[in-house]
């Protein structure tokens, strides 16, 4: 292996590892935020459904 090739390989693998890990963590963070947002929306929707089922008709309006 020539010196230049060894240098380029070591640079590429080293930087690739550092950036690769960073990108992986960033994707995981995005996924985590998306999951939290989805959980929040689901919780709000279930609260809304609960309120809607609690509303009951209070009687009939008689029109004379």
């Amino acid at each position: 292996m020539s010196d230049a090739l060894a240098t380029i390989t070591a640079f590429s693998v080293g930087l690739g590892m550092m950036f690769g890990y960073t990108i992986w963590v960033a994707i995981e963070l995005r996924y985590e935020h998306a999951r939290q947002r989805a959980a929040q929306l689901a919780s709000r929707a279930s609260e809304r459904d609960a309120v809607a089922t609690e509303i009951k008709p209070r009687g009939t309006v008689r029109v004379s």
Binding site: M1, D3, A4, A6, T7, T9, A10, F11, V13, G14, L15, M17, M18, F19, Y21, T22, V25, A26, E28, L29, E32, H33, R35, Q36, A39
Partner: protein, 230 residues
């Protein structure tokens, strides 16, 4: 607020990429070392990752002491994020080191004091991360890892003393000429920006996961209510 934060994050990573691109250009333009040849250019990556390994080991130490002092989870999360970056930088340090050793000395590895203590440093922080993954109780994990983080840090001054006191095949002088310094400083800035950015991203991820854990409804496991860590 979110838009400003997003803008800040993109600017930070843009600056990091730009710094590293300028670093690559400067490294290509820098003169080739008369004795060592092109392999000497690995110093632009090898030296910054070595310094960053020590810097983030110091962060692990400070955060571990912080946790032991105040028992606040944020310190443990910081120590975890810093340990990850220590191992990452240490891996690149060893990788560039063995390639350089093969070209310069004809061997991938020499059992010299400095190389051995660098390997021990990498192993210590790798074991730190592996232990974290194995322990389930957040409180016990934080206490154990904080004590471990303080003890593991002893390897850093030991490595420094080895450089100063023991004879070694590994050179102490960088052998750089003044025209090579701009490339080296740019690489220092780029690698430090990349490492800090990775640590902050890992820290935010740890905090987000913790928040989700805390929001889980308390369950009864084995007769005791288990909630998230405080």
């Amino acid at each position: 607020m979110d838009r400003w934060r997003e803008w800040g994050v993109y600017s930070y990573w843009g600056l990091t990429l730009l710094t590293l691109c300028v670093g690559v250009a400067l490294a290509l333009r820098a003169p080739v070392h008369e004795v060592m040849g092109p392999i000497q250019k690995l110093l632009y990556l090898h030296l910054p990752v070595a310094v960053n390994t020590f810097l983030f080991a110091i962060v692990v130490f400070v955060a571990s002491v912080g946790y032991l002092g105040g028992r606040r989870q944020v310190w443990d999360d910081l120590a975890h994020a810093a340990a990850t970056v220590t191992v990452l930088n240490g891996t690149v340090l060893l990788l560039t080191g063995v390639v350089w050793a093969k070209v310069a000395w004809g061997h991938w590895w020499m059992w010299s004091p400095r190389l051995c203590i660098s390997l021990i440093l990498w192993l210590l922080y790798s074991v730190y991360l592996a232990s974290r993954a194995r322990m389930r109780s957040p409180h016990h994990r934080a206490v154990f890892c904080s004590i471990y983080g303080v003890v593991a840090f002893l390897d850093v001054p030991l490595l420094y003393l080895t450089v100063k006191l023991l004879p070694d095949i590994h050179p102490t002088e960088s052998g750089l000429t003044p025209s090579m310094y701009p490339a080296l400083w740019t690489w220092f800035a780029g690698i430090t920006l990349l490492s800090v950015g990775t640590m902050v991203t890992r820290f935010v991820l740890g905090r987000s996961s913790l928040r989700r854990w805390e929001e889980l409804p308390a369950r009864t496991v084995g007769g005791t209510a288990s909630g998230g860590p405080r």
